[in-house]
């Protein structure tokens, strides 16, 4: 993946600000914050770039990025899509729904679509067993969902988002 040049130059500018300060290495967390703000998450290329620019071992950057929960190591979409895998939903075919979504969005769990719209997640019981199987997009719950319905809902959201 190539990083966006404009964003990269903004990151450069930010790093340049910290470079002349005493203990400039200590600003790596601030720089990672900046990178995440620019790219939405911390792409490996950005971490490589920062490692090189700040002369900090990549392993160290990786250690820091994975330690703090605030940092995303994978892109996060605008709309988190989660399918409930609680018992009730599972027995009512949540797996089929999940499979249909995976196929439709061409991503698997934990991944984000290329257009950055959806991130797919699994969730434990969300206490809506009466509506099983259940899918959530953002905070909104969709009950009695079927593979077909799920695909339709996502298509609608994508249309509204784009």
């Amino acid at each position: 993946m190539n990083l966006d040049a404009t964003k990269l130059s903004e990151l450069d500018a930010f790093m340049a600000e910290t470079a002349h300060k005493t203990n400039s290495h200590s600003y790596v967390i601030a720089v990672l914050h900046k990178a995440q703000q620019l790219f939405g998450y911390l792409p490996r290329e950005a971490m490589d770039y920062i490692a090189h620019a700040m002369n900090i071992p990549t392993a160290h950057i990786w250690g820091v990025a994975t330690f703090y929960h605030f940092f995303n190591l994978k892109p996060v979409g605008k709309h988190p899509v989660s399918v409930c895998m609680g018992t009730a939903c599972y027995v009512k075919g949540a797996k089929l729904v999940l499979d249909a979504i995976k196929e439709e969005l061409r991503i698997t769990i934990g991944e984000t679509t290329e257009d950055g719209i959806f991130t797919l997640q699994e969730t434990r019981c969300i206490g809506a067993c009466g509506l099983a199987p259940v899918m959530m997009v953002g905070d909104k719950i969709y009950g009695d969902i079927t593979p077909k319905k799920a695909v339709k809902v996502l298509a609608q959201i994508r249309k509204e988002t784009v």
Partner: protein, 592 residues
């Protein structure tokens, strides 16, 4: 050092300690060996494992004796029932998240955790639960990483950053999910790992082990169609005895040669022979460059971990690196050319095995540019540890075996070849030979004290005729990087530099025997004894200069011509190129 005496009480009895000592240091001096795990004398204090806890009167909690300083009147309890139980429970907690597969584990009977558990007397398990589960990383030619065995003592990542300065490893994630891994959890082979294997040396368990090829080797040794040729690195003989519970520093050269024959090798050669050859080439290369004031300082290239690190982190020094192949690869090359021709053997039928103190040699053996006539110069590399295991496994009585000599024509060596294994040894050897080549006179005082010892970076001056040659020696990759920074600031400072990737040189290599019951890995006293073994081999030889090795001279006469001849170049020299694993971007160079 502060020598103020501090009076302390350990387990009810008064003792004297020094101000600034930790409880552990003071207790050690008085015969209390407090159990410990993450502590390592060469590394920073972590206080992470909590095994070395003691009770200190007045302290609310237990204190980690590795980290806590003594103070006047301190009352310390190392062995109360309460502290014993607490320690026991801590070790059990470690075991509870550790595979219970001791019988089938590589470190069985050599494992610090196993010993610790035994000393705790853990007979019941109380806290079993979920265990971590990760994939083994088998990608590297040298080092296997098994996070399931990792107990997060952090010794590996401390040695990788504090001593070696490679920083290939970090903690990743946190809490129960903490794993030690390279950046981005990349396969080790794609990481900046230098393959030095020091992580293996310091690992208390089998979270890091070398890529073992003993089974494959046994198979080949049983194949009558193969001609099996082995070479033994200098430092193997100085350390292998430790794997058989002998005192460190015993020279086991003859036993090693004998055992290798019993294992089924047809020819047992000595890497010290090719070390002499390396000196011939490298000394000539140095003198040529010195006279032409060309690409100085010349930097040695025999340490394979150092080479990988250099290509990754210091590519600006590539022009300075000696083009000589390492002694192991020179030997392997000669085995498949000179020796094969001489013996009228099809080189394709030769299995060339290196028996090394090193894990990086496994990686080096796979470097494509070192192939000779489209064959690997060295087909397989086993470490000292692997050899020791094979000897035991084959039922060879290593201790009582009658010593034997190496085979000719690649088995005779000078003292200069022997000291290759210890830091400063290559430089010392090179000077012995270069001096004579340059001045035409014999260097009288051939033991060069300034180059011996274990301080990280050492300097020396030698006058040849009227010219002063300034040399420097560094061991351990961290010291190497430091030395290069000195050179970057002052490029004229040295003419000739020796760098060894491992602490102490090859004697402290990543493939050397695991520490014994009462010793720490990389204990400097053990390294000193191994070094002394090599120095005494040198002293015992009548031939002490590589230049005087008659078989080397004969080979030049019969086969290579002269040092730096075209043939020597084709066979004995190589080239280097910047390497860019993940995280090292192709941006000019690190020097501004």
């Amino acid at each position: 050092m502060d020598t103020t005496t501090v009076n302390i009480i350990i387990d009810g009895k008064p003792y004297a300690a020094r101000h600034g000592q930790t409880i552990m240091q003071a207790a050690d001096e008085h015969g209390f060996h407090i159990p410990r795990l993450c502590y390592h004398p060469r590394l920073s204090i972590e206080g992470a494992c909590r095994v070395c806890i003691v009770e200190v009167e007045g302290a609310k909690n237990y204190v980690a004796s590795c980290a806590f300083p003594v103070s006047e009147g301190m009352k310390i309890h190392t062995n109360t029932q309460e502290i014993r139980r607490a320690r026991r429970d801590i070790v059990e907690l470690i075991l509870d998240n550790h595979p219970d597969d001791c019988h089938t584990c590589e470190r069985d009977s050599n494992c610090e955790l196993q010993r610790l558990a035994a000393s705790m007397g853990i007979r019941n398990r109380h806290f079993k639960g979920e265990k971590k589960h990760y994939e083994k990383d088998l990608s590297s030619a040298s080092v296997i990483r098994d996070p399931n065995k990792c107990i997060l003592c952090q010794r590996c990542l401390r040695i990788c950053s504090e001593v070696q300065g490679v920083n290939a490893l970090s903690h990743a994630f946190r809490g129960f999910q903490t794993v030690v891994m390279p950046a981005y959890n990349l396969p080790f082979a794609e990481s900046v790992c230098s393959t030095c294997g020091q992580c293996i040396n310091v690992c208390p368990t089998a979270a890091f082990v070398e890529k073992n090829c003993t089974q494959e080797l046994f198979e080949k040794l049983n194949d009558p169609s193969i001609i099996k040729v082995v070479q033994v690195a200098p430092s193997v003989r100085a350390a292998i005895g430790e794997a058989f519970a002998l005192e460190p520093g015993r020279n086991m050269e003859g036993q090693t040669a004998a055992a290798l024959r019993r294992l089924g090798f047809d020819y047992v050669f000595d890497t010290q022979f090719s070390a002499d050859l390396t000196i011939m080439e490298e000394a000539s290369e140095f003198l040529e460059r010195f006279q032409n004031k060309d690409r100085l300082p010349l930097i040695t290239s025999c340490s394979s971990a150092w080479m990988k690190m250099m290509e990754q982190f210091h590519p600006d020094f590539i022009p300075n690196i000696s083009s000589c192949k390492s002694p192991m690869v020179m030997m392997g090359t000669l085995v498949k050319t000179y020796f094969a021709e001489k013996m009228k053997i099809d080189p394709a039928k030769i299995l060339s095995v290196g028996c090394m103190c090193c894990t990086a040699k496994k990686y080096e053996a796979e470097r494509p540019e070192l192939r000779v006539n489209n064959m690997a110069a060295v087909d397989m590399v086993i470490t000292t540890r692997e050899l020791a295991w094979m000897v035991k496994s084959a039922g060879i009585d290593f201790i009582n075996i009658h010593p034997e000599s190496f085979d000719l024509p690649l088995g005779l060596s000078s003292g200069g070849g022997a000291i290759f294994g210890v830091t400063g040894g290559v430089m010392e050897s090179a000077i012995r030979t270069a001096y004579e080549m340059y001045t035409g006179e014999t260097l009288v005082d051939i033991e060069i004290g300034a180059l011996r010892g274990f301080s990280g970076i050492r300097e020396g001056k030698i006058t040849m005729d009227k010219d002063e040659i300034r040399v420097a020696v560094a061991h351990g990759l961290g010291n190497a990087s430091e030395l290069l920074d000195i050179v970057r600031k002052n490029p004229q400072r040295y003419h000739f530099i020796e760098i060894m990737g491992c602490p102490g040189g090859c004697i402290g290599g990543g493939g050397q025997p695991y520490a014994g019951v009462n010793s720490m890995p990389l204990d400097e006293n053990i390294l000193k004894k191994r070094a002394e073994a090599l120095y005494s081999i040198d002293r015992a030889k009548t031939i002490r200069r590589s230049l005087d090795n008659p078989d080397v001279q004969r080979m030049y006469k019969e086969y290579l011509g002269s040092p730096l001849s075209q043939r020597a170049h084709d066979l004995l020299h190589t080239h280097y190129a910047p390497k860019l694993p993940q995280g090292i971007l192709p941006i000019e160079s690190t020097v501004k």
